[in-house]
């Protein structure tokens, strides 16, 4: 993180994303975004709307929750 913004993000875990390559686009989308719930949710939602990516059982708010958790760990 740089200040309160994401400078670099790597997402990993047990989930499905169709198409799989979209994970890299999601990571790029998040770079520069402020680590704050509203801003993150808007960025993630925009990513879903513009790409048509599917992630069964995982919703935009789940990514936001995970990012906020990781960011609070980094701040400590």
């Amino acid at each position: 993180m740089t200040g309160n913004r994401i400078s670099n993000i790597s997402i990993s875990g047990d989930f499905f994303m169709y198409p799989e390559e979209a994970i890299e686009a999601l990571e790029r989308t998040l770079e520069g975004v402020e680590v704050q719930e509203k801003a993150l949710l808007a960025a993630v939602q925009n990513f879903y709307n513009s790409t048509g990516v599917l992630t069964p059982m995982v919703e935009p708010r789940h990514w936001v929750e995970a990012i906020l958790r990781a960011a609070s760990g980094e701040r400590k």
Binding site: S10, I11, D14, F15, M17, P19, L54, P56
Partner: protein
């Protein structure tokens, strides 16, 4: 209602009753198996391979991780080295799985995307329906649990993962026959306390095996036969035995080094 849509889909498919290829049971190392699956998917998408179902085993036993997982986070590589267990990254998403050579049968289904429902969960349901019926053939009731599991008696007995690329679908997954659960938790990164007897006992509350459900360890061929009939029924296809083509074997050989590489394994 989702279930109603799926029943309709199945009914529509009943009229087609197409022929798919069934490959013989194979035992390979993880890298070859992953390469075969990708070769089948690629060539099916290019209309050079028929829709195919195969069953296979892992030699040596292997931990596979989902394509989005971090190997460092999920697998104790030191324990894997000690047991001689391979570690491989799949091209499908989902979680880490311990594939026990002696206790697990894996299946792969490769077909054109148009041969399964567009909706991802419905397509899992259709393909996992083959397993559900297969377990029925072995003598016990099982049911599909979205997104990608099959449960028996409320416990997980099979997990699957699907990818869709180039116009075709690959779904592969596990049939837990009699895996070594303790070894599984030594290999997968869980905290020390979790490998306690108490945790292992709690896993037995959540995971079951064919051996446990029928009270004896069946042969791999017996489970395979039950699943073949299950898939024919669920997919409404007729399976015809056939081998890998020269083109498939050649592409497998080309793809294998990727799966065996450190670069691929440590991608995330």
């Amino acid at each position: 209602m989702n279930s109603a849509i799926v029943i309709n889909t199945t009914k529509e498919r009943k009229d087609t009753g197409s022929e798919w290829r069934l490959l013989p049971l194979r035992t390979d190392d993880a890298f070859t198996s992953m390469a075969i699956d990708e070769a089948l998917l690629k060539l099916n998408a290019g209309c050079k391979s028929p829709n195919t179902i195969r069953f296979w085993r892992w030699q040596p036993s292997t931990v596979s991780i989902g394509c989005f997982q971090s190997v460092e986070r999920e697998v104790d590589l030191e324990v894997a080295r000690r047991y001689g267990v391979d570690v491989v990254r799949r091209i499908t998403g989902g979680g880490a799985v311990f594939h026990d050579h002696d206790g697990e049968l894996t299946y792969s289904v490769v077909c054109r995307q148009g041969d399964v429902p567009d909706d991802i969960i419905e397509s899992y349901m259709l393909i996992c329906g083959g397993l559900v019926r297969g377990f029925g053939n072995l003598g016990f009731r099982a049911e599909f649990k979205p997104v990608n599991d099959v449960h028996a008696n409320g416990k997980k007995i099979s997990g699957s993962a699907q990818t869709r690329r180039w116009g075709s679908v690959l779904q592969h997954g596990t049939v837990l026959i009699s895996p070594d659960i303790r070894k599984m938790f030594e290999l997968l990164k869980v905290s020390r306390e979790k490998i306690s007897d108490k945790f292992i006992a709690s896993v037995y509350e959540r995971v079951t095996t064919v051996e446990r459900e029928i009270g004896r360890k069946p042969t791999f061929e017996e489970v395979r036969e039950a699943m073949i009939a299950g898939f024919e029924d669920s997919l409404n296809v007729k399976l015809h035995e056939g081998g890998l083509t020269d083109e498939e074997l050649e592409l497998t050989k080309k793809l294998r080094p990727k799966y065996a590489s450190d670069e691929w394994l440590r991608k995330r």
